[in-house]
């Protein structure tokens, strides 16, 4: 059942941006992890653009948490998220992890930050 998640990477205005579109679950989270792991340790900002993600489960959340912890020790200071879908935001809320990340409503807002 391939094709549930598409992940691309770009650098915009000095920001390392990982775009994800689709569903991040136990069967697709590895694709997201692969791109997040490729973020340079010396990047000043790393943004996971989840604006196109409609579903996020605990495995996907675990990938975001581990990336955030890795980046906390570098110049970026952590992983920033762009979230527009209410169900994705709710996963962070109900696990009590919303405060862990800097969350933006749009990529434009993230890049302006």
């Amino acid at each position: 059942m391939a094709g549930l998640l598409e992940v691309t990477v770009e650098e915009r205005a000095g920001v390392y941006v990982i775009h994800a579109t689709g569903e991040v679950d136990i069967s697709t989270a590895a694709e997201l992890r692969e791109q997040l792991d490729a973020a340079p340790a010396d990047a000043t900002r790393v943004v996971a653009d989840l604006g196109g993600v409609s579903f996020l489960d605990s495995t996907g959340l675990g990938v975001l948490i581990s990336t955030h912890k890795r980046l906390e020790e570098g110049a970026a200071g952590g992983l920033e998220l762009v979230i527009s879908a209410r169900p994705v935001l709710k996963v962070l809320e109900v696990t009590g992890l919303l405060g862990l990340f800097t969350v933006h409503e749009t990529l434009d807002a993230a890049l302006a930050g």
């Binding site: 136990i26 579903f55 109900v94």
Partner: protein, 132 residues
């Protein structure tokens, strides 16, 4: 699909215990919830709860493992029961985030070892009152 003695409808899915199948499980339960006019927020909660239940029950699943998902419902609530066989259970691999999500999104849930080589769990979710 059938009716049990209490007038609740029932359906079951027998799938390989392969994470790629969780999408089908989510779709099946979503379709049931849509059919009894659950709201969009409830349906999204159910989709996530089903995924977490499947993942938690399938800890230690092997290539031979099968998953049976049984759903029963009436107009007010949906119950989902999951059983995975042929597992090599390792308690240490279970994900605490899954349990947190299940606790937050369902009215009640339980997950655990059933017998040697089988693991299962269930949850019940009632319809959110209108306006929530």
């Amino acid at each position: 699909m059938s009716l049990d003695d209490g007038g609740r409808s029932q359906a079951s899915f027998d799938l390989p215990a392969d994470p790629e199948m969780w999408t089908l499980a989510r779709m099946g339960v979503s379709a049931i919830a849509t059919g009894i006019d659950f709201g969009i927020d409830d349906i999204e909660d159910l989709r996530l709860a089903v995924s977490e239940l499947c993942s938690t029950c399938a800890v230690g699943a092997t290539g031979e493992s099968r998953m049976v998902l049984e759903c029963s419902w009436d107009k007010s609530a949906i119950s989902v029961r999951c059983e995975v066989n042929a597992i090599g259970f390792d308690e240490g691999e279970e994900d605490d985030l899954s349990r947190r999500i299940l606790a937050a999104l369902t009215d009640e849930y339980e997950v655990g070892k059933l017998t040697d080589g089988a693991r299962g769990g269930s949850f019940r979710k009632g319809r959110e009152p209108a306006g929530h």
